[in-house]
């Protein structure tokens, strides 16, 4: 870090207050600052107010009170366009790329400087992007079509977009939640480059390991208030965890012995096409027995999602069979935590309680088949809120007003409490804070002890190792490795994931 003086500070948020509902401040007199050449981690539990604070800095929301200083000068942002003019840019957790555009088009899209008399100066723009790519060592093919690119690459495009707009202050909201360890490593290399060139990086994350590995300073939020500002090299994972949750946590998950003999899910020689018509699943067979947790590791885009969707009846199979024991209309009663929760898992215009019965509205508890039993639905919702610690503790809150992590908790709660023999889970703890992750892990284990068969897809290898009875690695639409979690480790799984190793065929 460079020598920091008061006037070299690039971002200063002073006494920020923001409230969405009377009586609770999502940001409660928050002070925050960051310096050029610094990677500043912003952490805190789900709903602590991290995204809100950064959305204020980015001009997406306006604070109720408080000041924003950029390079020491007060700034008033009415929209993200105002913010980007002063060099503030943000990469959201959900990318906003036009799928049918090329990478280059997406990068220059919407930037005013690109247009000269309404004509896009492609050559000049491309030259600028190429230079940016080179100086920050970001590797993407500019002529590829953006749709269908791996998330890691889409993220690079988003970063290039900001650089192209000359962003000096870059905010990344949970960028690593969806990345594989390898992709995360690459991202961190890029961030280090950016830092060295004097940019201000603000990084939101739930992974304390990452905070310790890459940040210079940390700001901790809890329930809208700052509970700590620390130098990274003077703190520890334990201290941070305590600051986040307000208490010390012990991470103890007791793994049970593998389940019974009854086969619940049998997939036989399965072939599936992806959205673009090429093979996504290239001959997969697997068996999951009752009480078993079957983990699937793999770099995103190697067929895991297509497999999950096919099992849940959301995708046509081109060849092979899927059998699920004891259920005729099996598709009805599979519990499914989808990878893309915004597309499938929630209705953002619905209230929390309405979301908690999605796909379960005909269950005896919630209706008589025709009329909803709103009282019972509400009671169920109150229990879930309590048990899963969903915030705000309000069944009538609109889903779109919930923080990302709380939305995820709601989906997990709905699916884990569903009465079904098979649970298909993709990335259950993506975006969850430490406590919530622990809770969901415990729930998964409890449900499997009850005899549920669980298919667990995750890019978080420690999660897979911790929970699974078996781990299969998918690469290029095939299972290339079947490993025993007791005798393997993250490195070995990584080698299978990148195709370096294979113990099948």
């Amino acid at each position: 870090m460079r020598e920091q003086t008061a006037n070299s500070v690039s971002v200063q948020l002073i006494d920020i207050v923001k409230s969405f509902q009377a009586g609770y401040n999502a940001n409660d007199h928050v002070n925050f600052s960051a310096y050029p050449g610094e990677i500043h981690a912003l952490i805190g539990e789900n709903g602590a107010g991290k995204s809100t604070l950064m959305n204020i800095l980015y001009g997406m929301y306006q604070a109720d009170s408080g000041k924003i200083l950029i390079n020491g000068k007060e700034a008033k942002f009415r929209s993200p366009a105002d913010a980007i003019k002063l060099g503030v840019g943000m990469v959201h957790q959900h990318f906003m790329l036009v799928n049918t555009f090329s990478v280059l088009e997406n990068i220059i899209l919407g930037d005013e400087d690109t247009f000269r008399f309404d004509v896009i100066d492609m050559k000049r723009s491309k030259q600028k992007v190429i230079e940016l790519k080179k100086s920050f060592e970001i590797n993407v093919e500019l002529d590829d079509i953006s749709g269908g690119l791996a998330v890691g690459i889409q993220q690079k495009i988003e970063i290039l977009k900001l650089l192209y707009r000359n962003a000096e202050i870059m905010i990344l909201d949970e960028p690593t939640a969806i990345l594989t360890p390898q992709e995360t490593e690459e991202l961190f290399k890029t961030l280090a480059e950016l830092k060295n060139s004097g940019k201000t990086i603000i990084l939101i994350t739930h992974k304390l390991g990452e905070v310790l590995a890459i940040s210079d300073r940390v700001t901790v939020l809890r329930r809208g208030k700052v509970t700590g500002i620390l130098k990274t090299n003077q703190t520890s994972s334990n201290e941070l965890a305590k600051m986040i949750t307000g208490r010390s946590i012990e991470s103890q998950v007791i793994k049970k012995s593998a389940g019974g003999e009854k086969i619940i899910l049998e997939v036989n020689d399965l072939y599936i096409n992806n959205d673009r018509g090429s093979l996504a699943i290239n001959g997969i067979s697997l068996i999951i027995k009752e009480g078993e947790i079957f983990g699937i590791a793999g770099v995103e885009g190697n067929g895991q999602e297509e497999l999950a969707e096919a099992i849940c009846g959301l995708r046509k199979i081109s060849k092979g069979t899927i059998n699920i024991a004891g259920i005729d209309d099996f598709k009805k009663s599979i519990a499914h935590i989808p990878a893309n929760r915004h597309k499938y898992g929630i209705v953002k215009e619905f209230t929390l309680e309405e979301n908690l019965i999605l796909g379960r509205e005909k269950e005896e508890n919630f209706s008589n088949g025709w009329i909803l039993n709103n009282k019972k639905i509400n009671e169920f919702s109150e229990v879930i809120i309590e048990e899963y610690d969903i915030r705000p503790e309000n069944s009538k809150a609109l889903m779109e007003g919930l923080s990302g992590g709380n939305q995820q908790k709601a989906v997990a709660a709905r699916e884990m409490t569903k009465n079904s023999d098979l649970v298909v889970i993709s990335h259950p703890t993506r975006g969850l804070d430490i406590l919530a992750s622990e809770f969901v892990h415990r729930t998964i284990l409890e449900e499997s002890k009850k005899g549920k068969a669980i298919l667990l897809i995750s890019s978080d290898l420690s999660e897979l190792l911790k929970l699974s009875d078996k781990i299969a690695v998918m690469y290029n639409g095939r299972i290339t490795g079947e490993l025993d979690p007791k005798s393997t480790n993250e490195n070995e799984i990584g080698e299978y994931m990148t195709g370096l190793k294979s113990n099948k065929r």
Binding site: A22, C312, G313, L314, K331, K332, H336, P338, K343, Y344, G345, I346, V347, K348, E349, F350, E354, I357, L358, G359, E361, K362, S367, G369, W370, I371, L372, N374, L398
Partner: protein, 348 residues
């Protein structure tokens, strides 16, 4: 922001745009050399100012409530039903047919039967559009437009060739037992106006829509599909069924609108009775933001515009009133969008 301020903000948009368009209309009226104050005074005193005029307004509003509900119901499923015109015509004809055919039935039987016929007639007609979409994916806008044409031609053919009273364009009268009585006969109020018992049926229809949408499993599924079709698919809802049902109920509501004219007013079916109520219903639903209860005041407002236009017919060209109606609709849509952005109030 609490609930009440939210309601104030979401009502402020429409009210503001009505004021702006009244000012705009005043300018137009002044431009053709008339005194806006006089015109507006006459419009208001002849519509809401006297009981005959108000009865006329309420009569017109009654049909609009039904067609407004029809559009709103389909909107809830994300569907655009612009076929209320045809569905209303079919419903009206079905109800007339019941009234003409079952002459000896007492009102206790024939009235429910007429209601049922009007509903099923409209539901069937819209159901065809829904089926085509669910089965073949053809867009409901095209389907409903085409079915409008077919409905008009079909009904015209049947009336002209089977039911016509010579030298008129209408059918014979329905039986007296199938008449929905006028309020002036019932209460002595609204003297001479055709405001009739279809209105409480319309209010009942609003309540029905509210209950279906908010309290039933079907309504839950319709809303899910309307907001996020992928979530509906994920939740194993059958999209085809949702489309079919929401179109059918939507069409049934439009069909009920036929009662107002046939059983409540003329007591026969007449070609062209829909008078664009089907299309105005879309505007009603948009402005009422698909809220079944907001549809009532919005329909009354449109009733005032329509009948108010008639009352000043001799003083200002009808086109001026039509222009004002159009401007109001455009303004309301624009202003509410601005309000939504500015104050982040939610619609629908």
């Amino acid at each position: 922001m609490n609930k009440i301020t939210k309601y104030i903000y979401s009502a402020a948009g429409p009210i503001l745009s009505i004021i702006i368009s009244l000012i705009f209309g005043a300018v137009l009226i002044a431009l053709i050399g008339k005194n806006p104050i006089d015109i507006y005074t006459k419009m208001f005193s002849d519509t809401i100012g006297n009981s005959y005029g108000f009865g006329q307004v309420m009569f017109k509003s009654t049909t609009l409530i039904f067609t407004g509900l029809a559009a709103a119901f389909a909107f809830k499923a994300g569907l655009f039903n612009i076929g209320a015109e045809g569905q209303l015509t079919i419903g009206a004809f079905a109800s007339a047919w019941v009234g003409i055919t079952f002459v000896n039935f007492p009102w206790q039987i024939i009235i429910p039967l007429s209601l049922l016929a009007a509903f099923i007639g409209g539901a069937f007609w819209a159901g065809i559009a829904g089926y085509l979409k669910a089965r073949f994916g053809s867009h409901e806008v095209i389907n409903t437009i085409m079915l409008n044409f077919i409905a008009m031609a079909l009904v015209s053919y049947i009336v002209n060739n089977i039911y016509l009273v010579p030298a008129t364009i209408h059918t014979p009268e329905i039986s007296p037992e199938s008449v929905l009585l006028r309020f002036d006969i019932l209460t002595g109020m609204f003297k001479g106006s055709p405001f009739n018992l279809s209105f409480p049926i319309a209010i009942g229809a609003c309540i029905l829509m509210y209950l279906i949408i908010n309290k039933s499993v079907l309504g839950y599924r319709i809303r899910t599909y309307g907001f996020n079709p992928f979530a509906a698919e994920y939740a194993k809802m059958k999209s085809g069924r949702i489309i079919l049902w929401s179109m059918a109920v939507s069409g049934g509501l439009a069909g009920l609108g036929g009662l107002n004219f046939v059983n409540g007013y003329k007591h026969y079916f007449e070609l062209g009775l829909s008078e664009n109520a089907g299309y105005i219903g879309i505007a009603v639903a948009l402005i009422a933001r698909n809220n079944p209860f907001a549809i009532i005041p919005v329909s009354i407002f449109f009733g005032i515009l329509e009948y108010g236009g008639l009352t000043v017919n001799t003083l200002v060209p009808k086109e001026i009133v039509t222009i004002m109606q159009g401007i109001i609709i455009l303004l309301i849509i624009a202003v509410t969008k601005i309000f939504e952005k500015k104050f982040k109030v939610k619609t629908v």
